[in-house]
Amino acid sequence: MSEETNKTDIIIVGGGPAGLAAAVTIARAGYKPIVIERGTFAGSKNVFGGAIYTDATKEIFPDFEQTAPLERKNIEHKFAILGENDSTVISYRNNPKDAVSYSVIRAKFDRWMAEEAEKAGAVIVEETVVKELLIDDEKVVGIRTELEDYYANIVIIADGVNSLLSKQIGFREDIKPKDVALSVKEVIKLDKNIINDRFLINDDEGCIYELFGGSMLAKLGLGFIYTNKDSISIGLGITLDELDGTGIKPYELLDKIKSHPTLAPLIKDGETIEYSAHLIPEGGYKKLPKLSGSGVMVVGDAAMLVNNMHWEGTNLAMLSGKIAGETAIFALSQNDFSKETLSKYDKELKKSFIMKDLYTYRNLMDVMHDKKSVFMDFYFKKINTFFEMFTSVNGIPKRKLYRTFIKDFIKERGLCGLFSDGWSVLKLIWSILVK
């Protein structure tokens, strides 16, 4: 088919939160964006922890709390520092009306977003893999699927963390194993009332666990638990280089963390109804790819927009999709799809909290890579040792207990080590808070 007959305004590659947010935004302005999704339905290839965020989701779907398929409103956030067999848990419980996120089942939620996009006028083409972008005179002019070529004024790349399309046009280099986390997860079916009892929540209320240490002591990785209506999602993400030549298998780490004495009772007698895996881009600000060019913009995970310090991803995906959508509408109104016009997307992202937050944490992963064997091991264990000491009743005078704890602390890490760690943390905090 010729370029003229097979041409549309906007093609969006990928039906996840970023691509669908872009689609909804553009469709509401009266255009007919085409979303190409490789799965049998939007959501069928998508995996996360996880949570969607009220603030970001409302920006795109103002009444989603009434209409979207939600699981539970997360009212409690627990931070569990797991030793080999012990743990220290810090917990924050919101006033339920101030809760900021919901757990969702992606196969339902993404599908719902796709239906909303269709209602607004977008076209969702499923079961279609985009093989490559079509380039003409350094401009992206369309896509090639398994069957056909399609042309568009703008292609929005929302093809996820692996983004082969960004790579094709040189927007990103090969991701290095240290800049990506492999996440594995199980969804475990449990009766709704058992979940309520075990997590001390009411119907429709949810609880999140962030898991530090445990099977990932001394490794750069974190675990998580989310509560769904009648299931629990438990998983972990580990930096891929931790698995490089080490003999450690990701699902074995998952099994080990599931059997930790602090967590095992939470999932006891549950039936695993789905196992899944997914990559999370964790390179942060310093590893961001090029975000726009002639006829093209990159959104969501494809643009590596993840704030791993705060477990945020879907919100950055949705809002980057919205901003790309607004930029596309502006470009269509000007009939100008040059890289200069589309660089408005970069500028708007920079103005938003998305780039500000990524910039704030730009040094985080460097410090963590450098210090993981200490921060993710020694200090986690010491937190637990402290509480073990503090709660012990063993006939040893308390002053002796304190002094032994402090002496061991200094001896084991060494003064140089402690000074070096303190300096790293101070520098990191300075870069987060000051400049």
């Binding site: 196969a107 993404d110 199980e186 030549g245 003999g247 298998k249 695993t272």
Partner: protein, 91 residues
């Protein structure tokens, strides 16, 4: 819970041809073969007798870990065809 049991929770529509194509001569000389450990679905297995990498692509979760961890950068990694591969019912 062993891996086979985990994978049995998934719905797969396998293709006739593999979407994962390692460059076997690179695998022979590869010192780490990190794909074997890293793959969350145990897709890769080294066949000592045949001196080649076995690819059980039907079990692939399409995460891309093997592509990134491949020390030789020579794993030809594509998505399965539009109607094929894994379908997550939860995600």
């Amino acid at each position: 819970m062993n891996l086979d049991k985990k994978l049995s929770t998934l719905k797969y529509t396998p293709d006739e041809n593999s979407h994962l194509k390692p460059t076997q001569e690179d695998c022979v000389s590869c010192k780490t073969r990190s794909c074997i450990n890293a793959c969350p679905a145990g897709v890769y297995e080294w066949l000592e007798n045949e001196n080649k990498l076995l690819v059980k692509y039907e079990n692939c979760l399409e995460c891309g870990a093997c592509r990134i961890i491949c020390a030789k950068h020579s794993l030809n990694w594509e998505y399965p065809k539009g109607t094929k591969g894994v379908t997550f019912k939860k995600g």
